[in-house]
Symmetry: C2
């Protein structure tokens, strides 16, 4: 933040922001990995929906590269019913506890990052078999840390679906029953950007 005016000198505070779009809790718009919708073009009706929280904390604790798989989605559906049309699906890996430390990126000696993400098979299932508005992760990326091909980004986003990265506090929500508001940016042409995400239980 650059200070433009201050309360002491000018009677009020205004800053100027300079930031990369993909900072903090932020949206990946379809345009981030395609020539599809920019963040401001996403229909507002796609920014509200019932939230399905898929808990992979147990396996993420054993394997930092853990993926959300079709089995995880099936296990969720066995407990809570078929993921409803218009839902938003969140990966709860528990990784947000690391957000203030190097463990959030968790780079090894070769610079390869290690954190959980969605797997391509789960994304294929959601694209073909379910009607989901968007996905969320509590890690830095929709793909897991070691990914070099960004399969989730390249399959999910070009289908005019959005993703939300670095989402906090998913562990405070029920697996099903919360509604989520996705305050994605309304900045013309943006490929994504810092977003306010609020769940109602």
């Amino acid at each position: 933040l650059d200070v433009l005016v201050t309360l002491a000198n000018d009677g009020y505070n205004i800053y100027q922001w300079t930031l990369n779009e993909h900072t903090g809790t932020h949206m990946d718009a379809p345009f981030h990995f395609s020539d599809q919708l920019t963040a401001d073009q996403i229909p507002v009706s796609d920014l509200l929906g019932p939230l399905a929280v898929v808990d992979i904390r147990a396996k993420a604790e054993e394997d930092p590269d853990a993926l959300v798989t079709p089995d995880d989605l099936q296990a969720w559906e066995e407990s809570y019913g078929e993921i409803p049309p218009g839902a938003i699906v969140a990966m709860l890996s528990g990784w947000d506890v690391h957000v203030a430390t190097d463990k959030f990126r968790n780079a090894d000696d070769d610079g390869v990052m290690h954190f959980p993400g969605f797997g391509l098979e789960a994304i294929d299932f959601l694209l073909k078999e379910r009607d989901v508005k968007g996905i969320m992760v509590d890690t830095l990326s929709l793909d897991n840390g070691p990914s070099t091909t960004f399969d989730v980004h390249y399959n999910w986003l070009p289908a005019n679906k959005w993703g939300m990265e670095c989402v906090a506090n998913l562990g405070q929500l029920p697996p099903f029953g919360a509604a989520v508001f996705v305050g994605g940016p309304k900045i013309g042409g943006a490929s994504g950007g810092p977003s306010r995400v609020i769940a109602l239980v």
Copy 2:
């Protein structure tokens, strides 16, 4: 927006934003005109609530400097009941139709702007007699255009209340009955900033 990488060259699109916090549909945090809460510090429970839309379009059409007065709030309450605790109160002046033209600022030959806003008496009433989380206007400022003293800013915001400026489409909402989600920025230290505001009817 500055282009950092592009789909054609790099396989994905990322821009860098440089913007004044008080741009577009944006929040004024208490810190904007005081040393109170910055945007990120506002409790999330203060960003959701029932919306009271106070329609002053008729008088704003006759007088571009029109103010929301205690009489306007009283007239609203006679129709819809007392403004409930935790409500968010919006001024509907109809001014958002001018957003793409010079009429939005409506500066006269002396550079004095003319558009509607809240009046100090209405703000005093809301602060002392009601329990309201925030206020919204469909104009550039909580104070009306010719204000040089910014009474609304200097009274409302230091009470740890937020304001939202340049809010669009209020005319599509019922006077009472909508719930509004205020996606204010979660940028550390911000005096406000671009916000996604979504109403549910």
